[in-house]
């Protein structure tokens, strides 16, 4: 845990953070709004104080109530992984600015995020499905997508066809969707 780094982050991004800077083990976590993603990433990348040159990972998260996009960054200025969470995206139409202007290599990870969660990365030049077939209509990693054909384990209604949209037609009990506050 790098306490110094936490103070630096708070000093630099203070008002922009939507939650406290959390630290656990070797990770530091900041939460920002989706609109601030481009600015924040640019600052983290360019600022000589931070120099986060390596984008270690980019992924989407469905918390059950809203969507998040999570960036993991590495820099030699700190001993921690930095986790940037773009928080509070709506589940109906999640939108977030693309990170491809800084890291063109994020393109496929964003395509994966689109494919699996339906998150629209604005500015990605090639945002189409990457794993699933192009005429597929559902988003498999969303929490309201249940694994098919395992009636004993699937909550509620038994089998749902994979070809269904991500809103199950007969999902009468939204409390069945797993949620997290983590």
């Amino acid at each position: 845990m790098d306490r110094q780094f936490k103070r630096r982050l708070e000093a630099r991004f203070g008002p922009r953070l939507t939650g406290p800077v959390r630290q656990r083990h070797d990770q530091t976590e900041i939460r920002i709004a989706a609109a601030d993603v481009a600015d924040t990433l640019r600052t983290l990348h360019d600022d000589p104080e931070f120099r986060f040159e390596v984008l270690a990972d980019l992924c989407g998260v469905d918390t059950g109530t809203h969507m998040q996009v999570v960036y993991h960054l590495w820099s030699d200025t700190t001993s921690d992984w930095l986790r940037v969470i773009a928080d509070g995206l709506s589940r109906d139409d999640p939108r977030v600015p693309s990170a491809t202007f800084l890291w063109p290599g994020a393109e496929w990870m964003e395509r994966e995020g689109y494919d699996m969660f339906g998150i629209t990365f604005e500015g990605n030049r090639d945002l189409r499905r990457i794993y699933m077939p192009p005429d597929y209509t559902s988003f498999p990693l969303r929490k309201d997508f249940f694994l098919p054909d395992d009636a004993a384990r699937s909550p509620g209604g038994g089998v749902r066809h994979m070809e269904q949209t991500h809103t199950p037609r007969n999902a009468t009990s939204p409390e069945l969707v797993r949620r997290t506050r983590a």
Binding site: R24, A56, D57, D76, G105, T180, A182
Partner: protein, 406 residues
């Protein structure tokens, strides 16, 4: 017919039947959805599409690449993934923490231990477990053996994609010895399922140690003999040198990690850059090269084999005594939280990002795989080269389709 109302999928055999020509043009049967797709699927003067894969002999599995060619020169290419997609992340979210280990095993099937290591490490962070030191040493020992196996397979594939028949079999012999060794340690030849949350499954045994000792005495010699075939071969060197040059800045921007990044001169190795396990205690070098071409990537991996042999030697010398598993309850329910664990595998950064919601199943399980990232670079490096170079570049980046398609 009722089916005509549906939009045809790209893989629908009816699409082929509809075309009266009898030749398959790999153009999707629907209007382009992105700029890039529109740009790619419009042909310029004298250009043609050629569909490579998913059954092409040298696409390392089931990758499909649509090449836009001008004569033999590649103008542009569009990799089409998903032929091996199993939804491992979803399966992991529906399995409990112990079951995840066997779900992630077949991701990169030539380096399974690394695929296990990063989720196990992430779960240990979630659970605040401390792993016994002997377990850490055994993990490093087994993982470095696996790294050598993976790199020697790379050597064979590289040569096979350039048309050499022999090295692939020699490297399989090399790999088979290591894999048999690991089988006596872990119980399986390929999908080891060996790392456990809080330790490893089973201590070192006599058979493993005797096999390892036997192999260590001749490993260096044997590997050097294999390399003598290729390293000085004019045809091989001339084909690889200056091909697919990835410079330092681009490599960082493309999120490249591992040997492919180090071949461009960036000494980024997570074992040193963000130390984990017992790597800070071990003495080894991070080989780098500045050229960034296919030959540099090849030679760098061969250097890494030598470093791995050093690490194995040190592990054997310093192996402490003690338990190999931490004391943990049978049913794991970590408190809610998030953990990220990245490790340095034979291809780059293998990482897992796990979110716990307090139940016995991970709430979200993100698996980051280096092959997926590196395959992206093929589209960057290949245009302007010949068809034959596509295979050389792809082989030198060393993607494993099991990891790419998750």
């Amino acid at each position: 017919m009722t089916t005509t109302a549906q939009r045809p999928s790209a893989d629908d055999p009816r699409v082929l039947l509809d075309q009266q020509l009898g030749v398959f043009e790999p153009v999707p049967p629907y209007p382009p959805r992105t700029e890039r797709e529109a740009e790619f699927y419009s042909l310029g003067d004298g250009e043609m599409f050629i569909n490579m894969g998913p059954q092409h002999p040298s696409t390392h599995g089931v990758l499909r690449v649509v090449l836009k060619l001008n004569g033999e020169e590649v103008v542009d290419l569009d990799p089409v993934l998903g032929y091996l997609h199993r939804g491992v992340e979803k399966l992991c979210e529906n399995a409990d923490y112990h079951q995840v280990i066997s779900q992630v095993d077949p991701l990169e099937y030539v380096s399974s231990l690394f695929c296990e290591w990063s989720p196990v490490m992430a779960f240990e962070k979630l659970l605040d477990v401390e792993v016994p030191r002997r377990a850490e040493y055994i993990r490093v020992l087994a993982a470095e053996l696996n790294r050598i196996a993976s790199h020697s397979l790379f050597m064979g594939w590289m040569a096979l994609d350039l048309g050499g028949l022999t090295p692939i079999l020699w490297s399989f012999i090399e790999r088979d010895e290591i894999v048999e060794m690991l089988a006596s340690l872990t119980g399986q030849r390929m999908l080891f399922n060996y790392f456990r949350i809080g330790g490893v499954n089973g201590d070192l045994n006599h058979e493993f140690m005797s096999r390892l000792g036997d192999w260590m005495t001749r490993a260096t010699e044997q590997i050097e003999a294999n390399l003598a075939l290729l390293n000085e071969n004019e045809i091989f060197v001339r084909r690889m040198r200056g091909l697919g040059v990835l410079d330092r800045e681009t490599a960082l921007r493309m999120c490249v990690t591992g040997p492919n990044l180090r071949a461009t001169g960036v000494p980024f190795d997570i074992r040193r850059a963000h130390p984990y396990s017992i790597y800070p205690e071990l003495d080894f070098d991070i080989p780098t090269r500045s050229e960034g071409d296919c030959l540099a990537r090849y030679l760098l991996r061969m250097d890494e084999i030598r470093q791995s042999l050093r690490i194995i030697d040190q592990c054997l010398n310093r192996m402490p005594d003690g338990p190999v598993m931490a004391k943990l309850p049978r049913l794991l329910r970590p408190r809610p939280g998030r953990a990220y664990a990245g490790i340095e595998g034979p291809r780059g950064q293998y990482a897992t990002y796990a979110i716990s919601d307090g139940t016995d199943q991970p709430f979200r399980m993100r698996i980051h795989d280096p092959s997926f990232i590196h395959l992206q670079c093929v589209g960057l490096l290949t245009p302007g080269n010949l068809v034959a170079d596509t295979m050389a570049i792809m082989a030198s980046l060393d993607p494993i389709m099991g990891g790419v398609d998750k």
